[in-house]
């Protein structure tokens, strides 16, 4: 909780604050757990001021907390405001009940070269074209390739007439903004700046609002600091998770992250970042690749609103994810 001084309430005069400080009351938390009226050493003349200050702080806190919402409100919000962003591949969309849901965090887990980055770029391309919305792509492993994105967009816009195509193509690319962060601190700062500028941005410009944040990958900035005897790495990891969720919920943004796999005790692959990160994504998709026949399989391992038994197979071609040719 913030320090009392940061509330900037008129009744909290410097004298009163320093009086509190002598009793070890600095933050709002200290203020709440101590019995203010029983503090020794208060002059009788000041007791009025004190009473006024206490009422004002309590009133401030009363107004400050978030208002209650009931289930009906939430349901209405879901019906009218929340959309599902299509991934651009139908079987995957039906696996996810329509795509990436705004306000939630979806995570792709998989071994290296199993299509995580390809899927990230494909979703970005689709969101930029279909919704004309902005996409923030945070790249932590130098794997964002605009040349690859160009290929995907070219096929996506193929049905349009030549004249419109060039414009639409350029607009789509301009809708995707890219950031690079190679350590966890720059990542945190970046996310916080995003948080502040999203509000300003939507008022200023006429282009579509930000609907998707892609973080590819979360694990590469966190794995250098996680583990051993350092508990700080864990704290930083969870604060990244917290900010991502906050960004998603406050602004109805779909967040897509990727995570890599590590070898577990039994020699099987398991998602990296451990047990506590597991609670961050709302939806977790496990990707794997059958090297022999070039088939990729996505299976649902966590979903907040449906059973996780389904799988979708695909292959990756020039235009991105496509139905597996052998299967049909």
């Amino acid at each position: 909780m913030p320090p009392l001084a940061a509330l900037a309430l008129p009744s909290l005069s410097p004298e009163l604050l320093s009086f509190f400080a002598t009793h070890g009351i600095v933050s709002v938390e200290d203020f709440l757990i101590r019995d203010i009226y029983q503090l020794p050493g208060l002059r009788a003349a000041d007791s009025d001021k004190l009473r006024k200050a206490v009422t004002e702080v309590l009133a401030f806190l009363e107004n400050g907390h978030a208002s209650w919402r009931n289930g009906w409100d939430l349901f209405n919000n879901l019906e009218h405001n929340i959309r599902f962003l299509p991934t651009g591949y139908d079987s995957l969309d039906s696996l996810l009940q329509g795509g990436l849901r705004e306000g939630t965090v979806t995570e792709l887990v998989g071994a290296s070269s199993c299509g995580k980055t390809q899927l990230c770029m494909q979703v970005s391309a689709h969101v930029a074209v279909r919704f004309g919305a902005m996409v923030a792509y945070i790249d932590t492993s130098n794997s964002f390739s605009s040349e690859r994105l160009e290929q995907m967009l070219n096929d996506l816009l193929n049905s349009q007439r030549e004249v419109e195509k060039t414009g639409a193509f350029m607009q789509a690319l301009k809708n995707i903004v890219c950031y690079r962060a190679f350590d966890v601190y720059s990542m945190l700062i970046l996310l916080q700046k995003l948080n502040t500028s999203i509000e300003n941005h939507s008022q200023k410009t006429h282009s579509g609002r930000l609907r998707l944040i892609v973080v590819d990958s979360v694990s590469s900035v966190i794995s250098p600091i996680l583990g051993g005897n350092i508990s700080q790495g864990h704290t930083l990891m969870m604060s990244i998770g917290q900010i991502l969720k906050k960004l998603a919920v406050d602004n109805s943004i779909a967040v897509l992250t990727t995570n890599h796999t590590v070898t577990g005790e039994s020699g099987n692959f398991k998602p990296a970042l451990g047990e506590s990160w597991k609670s961050v994504p709302h939806v977790r998709l496990l990707l794997r690749r059958e090297i022999a026949d070039g088939i990729y399989v996505a299976s649902l391992t966590k979903h907040s609103s449906q059973a996780c038994t389904k799988e979708a197979a695909f292959s990756i071609g020039r235009s991105g994810l496509q139905a597996n040719v052998n299967h049909e």
């Binding site: 909780m1 995707i176 794995s223």
Partner: protein, 346 residues
Amino acid sequence: MDSLTLPLPSSLRSKLLEAGFANTSAFQHLTPLQLARDANISHQEALAILKTVSWMNCADQYSKEEDILSSAKTAWDLLCYEKSRKKLRTCCSELDTVLGGGFKPKELTEICGVPGVGKTQLGMQLSINVQIPSEFGGLGGQAVYIDTEGSFMVERALQMAESMIDYLKYATSSCESTVGLGMSLNVDTFLSHIFYYRVYDCTEQLAVVNSLEEFLKEHREVRLIVIDSVTFHFRQDFQDWALRTRLLNGMAQKLMGLAQKHDVVVVLVNQVTTKTNGEIVPALGESWSHTCTNRLILSWSNGCRQVHIFKSPSLPAATASFAVSADGIRDVESSKRIKLCTISSP
């Protein structure tokens, strides 16, 4: 800004959070003495914290003016850059084709393969090729070669440099306007523009990577960093696997930052290991395999050397064959005469 993001020791951080300083705005108008009292820390510590905060705020103020959504690089900007950038060629046209024109600046590329398949040869060839002057369509840069195994042979580099110069002279001799360019090349400059580090243990290796930032600031011409091999020391002396993973991942993130900032090609050579089922896979395990942008696997096939693109965000999986001749890395059929570069007309 959240206090969590301040670069402070964790003990101080937790004291600050305990005293309610969760946001940097809480530090405004605070004297060191007040902070020391409120957060129950020493006067010096308080002073250091306030300095850090005000420094961070300055940096923040500077960027606060522009909203980071509209000032960021868009995919369009990046596409324009990617289209215009020159790539580092390998002297093997088949390999260049599958790589989409060569090794790309700003990316980490890992080369894996069994001993003797040509990993070091490729690394050395790249250190020569990066120096091809821009008039010849090259990058015109310099190279940093970090050798952990002692496999860099300067005689071999000399051979490669000589045949490269011969080729460049031959290429220019046909065209009058560029004859002079070919004549000005000599072996000494080629060799003196390879900065060579020999490292003897993993601590040294990490130290060199950490000091590269400074080095690159002084040597702005450097366009290639080769680490041959990234594996060697990390395979020998490690008990704690989790620590190894952390160190390696940290190193890779540093290299990515460098590659991005200084526009260099980073090539990491990796060894291979045999799994229990006899399958040959790149060393350093699963979590390392995520770190590199591109992974090339070198192997033997019917007495011929092959490169397989195993992982790349921008290139489809493909295979190309190459040869190692006296001149260096070359095409298989015509290992003598190569179509290396086109001379840009002035």
